[in-house]
Amino acid sequence: MPFPTHLPVNQEENELTMMKRRTFLQGGLAGGLLAVAAGAGLLRPSRALAAQWPKAAFEARSIEAALQSLYGTGDAGESKAVTVKAPLQAENGAKVPVQILTDLPAESIDILVKDNAMPLAGRALLPNARGFFSTRIKMAKSSDIIAVVKANGKLHRAKLSVKVTVGGCGG
């Protein structure tokens, strides 16, 4: 179905809003439709959609690149106010339990694994919760787990070395 390009302005906006709402509810925009919409100049950057899931950061191939993508900077100083808890030796790299704790007024906590192909494993944005995030992560091999906490307008980093006896990313 051809994408409408010559409708009066009001109608274009309604069409686009309806399309965006419908596809958003369905769970995403198909690549082709997105390209047409962007090409026709009708797609305005939607903060809600962009903030939904930081694809570039999750697909970044290094810690630096992931931080750059998330924050526009890789500058994260080592901080004793952030603690990374995990077993020093993990038998199963597919399920390494990790806990990040901080007393800083954390806005977000990111968990990255240095030697994973895509280091960013997960993040917790904390509009109204304490500086704590625990989960289980996959580690391809023995590596450093790195936590980055955003607090007081700065990035604070801490790490823990974990030895993995059986790597856990599959494939």
């Binding site: 369905q26 899931w53 917790a124 109204n128 304490r130 992560i137 599959g170």
Partner: protein, 105 residues
């Protein structure tokens, strides 16, 4: 087919901790099916949110580096027995889950 999402709350050193377990493959998209030799498509939870008494408390963004059947733990602020908790998640294929429950220590 709804995926099971289990939510538990507990008192951890005077603070309300919420633990969430979702039955989900968290497939990376990098594995190959041993028989067909084809790549198993990525299928993983991307977003999970927690609302406390109707207001956003946590917004988690997850990737393929989170283990299968994700277990997530957070510690809430200003939470007490009986408070309303809503946990909602969404994956890259558009599947989602919601749990409405209360803080029960």
């Amino acid at each position: 087919m709804a995926r099971k999402t289990k939510v538990r709350t507990r008192n951890q050193a005077g603070v309300v901790e919420v633990l969430i377990l979702v039955n989900h493959p968290m497939e990376t998209g990098l594995r190959k099916d041993k028989q067909t030799k084809k790549k198993i498509p990525a299928h993983f939870i991307q977003n999970l949110t927690i609302e406390l008494n109707g207001k956003p408390a946590v917004n988690a963004e997850l990737g393929i580096g989170i283990s299968k059947n994700p277990l997530l733990g957070f510690r809430l602020k200003d939470a007490k027995q009986g408070d309303a908790l809503k946990i909602a998640w969404k994956d890259n294929k558009g599947e989602s889950g919601v749990v409405d429950t209360t803080v029960d220590l």
